[in-house]
Amino acid sequence: MSILGLGYSPWSSIFWLLAFVVVTIMAYFFRRHGQKGYKKDTAQTKIFLCGEEVPEAKQRHIRAHNVYWGFFETMKEYYDANIKAHTGIINDYIIWFIVLIAISAIILFIVGIV
């Protein structure tokens, strides 16, 4: 078995896959004891929204800029600062380069390490 070992936490994906297969077989046997059969293409397979009218697919699908809204609201200051920093102007990309050269000059000459 191909085992990735650090001496204190060996990892082998083959054992993991075997465990996954065993659990899947158990889950399959549990599921077989459940309810059998449903009628396809009747109201049993349609979306149910507590009796409300279901909007069509184009309006139902949440668009990408609305996903994770809460996360972005929470980190609004961080994201505003970051989006402002990523301007897209080519001159700013080289300004960052000069800033890093200046910081390395400070570390080399003034602080004196390296």
């Binding site: 078995m1 650090l6 990892w11 083959i14 697919a57 699908h61 994201y79 050269i101 390395s104």
Partner: protein, 522 residues
């Protein structure tokens, strides 16, 4: 066969170069012949890389002196320093060459269908072969100025390929940003090479490492080299060109640009470990690399969750995964002269970082190719407009799931194996770094789930009713990378022992590299 192995370093560079110059000629005869030439030359380069790798891992490094009477005559009679261009291939170089060869072959096979409607395809394939030759040259050479020349070849070819589809307005902008950033970085590398030559009169990496005294001018050259290579491999804060360029390039070219940035990562490690080696203040330089890595990881992934353009999202992830590699190898660099820490967790951190390079090339390549497939069929990269595509594009969905699980580090994928190595060893170095790495992994999973939901899940949308699956050659290109991912996921121990660990050992042993040059020949 033994002759082929001896001459393979130069053949690996020369065959794509020669095929690049033959492509416009053969294209006049027939288009099919041109396609066969491109695929055959890249397949031959991959074959040569594999047989050279099988010779290097048992037998040690491989020297090839250009223009000498025998390939290992590095120092001719009555000379005390090497004077010719010398290709020095050790386990780390051939590891990167394996990545380049596989990614180039997958990109070429994918391009056969992806670029079918474009005009000027002979120029496209010429530039693709030149980009591959440039990357091979960067990885196999042992000479600093040769590294600069191949760096420029790869940059120019990559920028021209990025702006290839001139009918898109943002393609020219992405290509322009790439060539400006690459030019500035390469000119700073040239300046640093000039400083080193002025002091020691040598251009060869092994010979320079042999005579290096760590004067103030050498420190200035080190700073210039590190910052210039950091700009080329898109580490924060010099990463802003990366999403612009990777999102507008054709999908197969994006994966080759990713491989080119890993060739620059290799050049950075050659500089830190082999060119300067033990005369550095290892803790400081190691911590600088670690700080770049942590910044790249965190800023890359938080900006990635925000994006709505699928290839821009994946490009920001590229930046954050590069941070993982910098973190792992930076930890190894920081403990390089403490033998107890090195053997406990330093070598494991470097194994994880290096294993992550090949994992990332595979799964990032696969993800970019699926994004290209989505673009080909829907005509847009905007996630706000896509939805419900899993009903029609089943193979693309499967490959996307494989890639997304790998990049997020979900067991049993190879991404999990390399991230586990990095977490375990970096935790023993400093726990906070490992915690930042784990948070990054969670946010990576979050952003790929967002992209999966937006593009693939949901009910079928009316505007995508006629969308079909992508052509067979694109599926073949994706399948090559997916097969690599599945193989690496099933046998991670095998890959680390046979591929990543010899590369780590080669990076750490500066003496073996120097001996190959100074001790060889007449």
């Amino acid at each position: 066969m033994a002759n082929l192995i001896t001459h393979s370093p130069i053949l690996i560079i020369a065959i794509p170069l020669l095929a690049a110059f033959l492509t416009p000629l053969i294209d006049r005869v027939s288009k099919k012949a041109r396609d066969i030439l491109v695929i055959a030359s890249l397949a031959l380069a991959e074959f040569l890389v594999i047989i050279l790798a099988r010779d290097i891992y048992p037998n040690g490094l491989h020297i090839y002196t250009l223009g000498a009477s025998s390939p290992d005559l590095t120092i001719p009679e009555n000379y005390i320093v090497p004077v010719r261009i010398i290709l020095e291939v050790d386990s780390m170089s051939i590891f990167m060459a394996i990545i380049t060869a596989t990614v180039s072959l997958a990109a070429a096979i994918y391009s056969l269908s992806f670029m079918k409607e474009e005009t000027g395809q002979n120029r496209f394939y010429t530039l693709l072969l030149l980009l591959a030759a440039g990357m091979f040259g960067m990885e196999l050479t042992g000479d600093l100025f040769n590294l600069f020349v191949f760096l420029e070849i790869a940059s120019i070819a990559g920028a021209a390929l990025t702006a290839f589809r001139t009918r898109f307005a943002d393609a020219a902008e992405g290509g322009f940003k790439y060539i400006v950033v690459s030019s500035v970085a390469a000119l700073m590398v040239l300046f640093a090479i000039g400083i080193l030559y002025a002091q020691y009169n040598l251009l060869n990496i092994g010979a320079l490492a042999h005579v290096m005294q760590y004067t103030m001018l050498d420190k200035i050259a080190l700073a210039l080299l590190v910052i210039a290579f950091m700009m080329k491999l898109a580490g924060v804060p010099l990463h802003m060109w990366c999403p612009d360029t990777y999102s507008v390039a054709p999908a197969s070219i994006t994966i080759m640009l990713v491989a080119a940035s890993y060739a620059c990562l290799y050049a950075l490690f050659r500089t830190c470990f082999t060119l300067y080696g033990v005369c550095l203040n290892l803790v400081t330089v190691g911590w600088i690399v670690i700080i770049f890595g942590v910044l790249s990881m965190f800023i890359g992934v938080t900006m990635a969750v925000f994006q709505t353009d699928i290839k821009r999202l994946m490009a920001y992830h590229c930046i954050s995964q590069t941070g993982y590699m910098l973190l792992g190898i930076g930890v190894g660099l920081a403990v390089l002269n403490q033998p107890e820490a090195l053997s406990t967790y330093g070598i494991a951190a470097m194994d994880g970082g290096i294993f992550h390079i090949i994992n990332n090339a595979l799964y990032k390549g696969l993800l970019f190719l699926t994004a290209g497939a989505l673009f080909q069929r829907t005509g847009t990269r905007d996630l706000n407009k896509m939805g419900g595509l899993a009903h029609k594009m089943k193979w693309t969905t499967i490959f996307y799931i494989i890639g997304a699980l790998s990049i997020s580090g979900i067991p049993p994928s190879n991404g999990f194996a390399s991230k586990l190595l990095i977490y375990e060893s970096v935790y023993r170095f400093n726990p906070i770094l490992a915690i930042v790495a784990m948070i990054t992994s969670i946010l990576t999973l979050a952003s790929f789930t967002k992209a999966f939901y937006s593009a693939f899940m949901g009910a079928e949308l009316p505007e995508y009713q006629e969308v079909k699956e992508v052509p067979k050659s694109m599926i073949a290109g994706m399948a090559i990378l997916a097969a690599g991912i599945i193989f690496f996921s099933l046998f991670p121990g095998l890959v680390v022992d046979r591929l990543a660990h010899p590369a780590t050992a080669a990076l750490i042993s500066q003496g073996v590299y120097i001996n190959g040059i100074m001790g060889g020949g007449g």
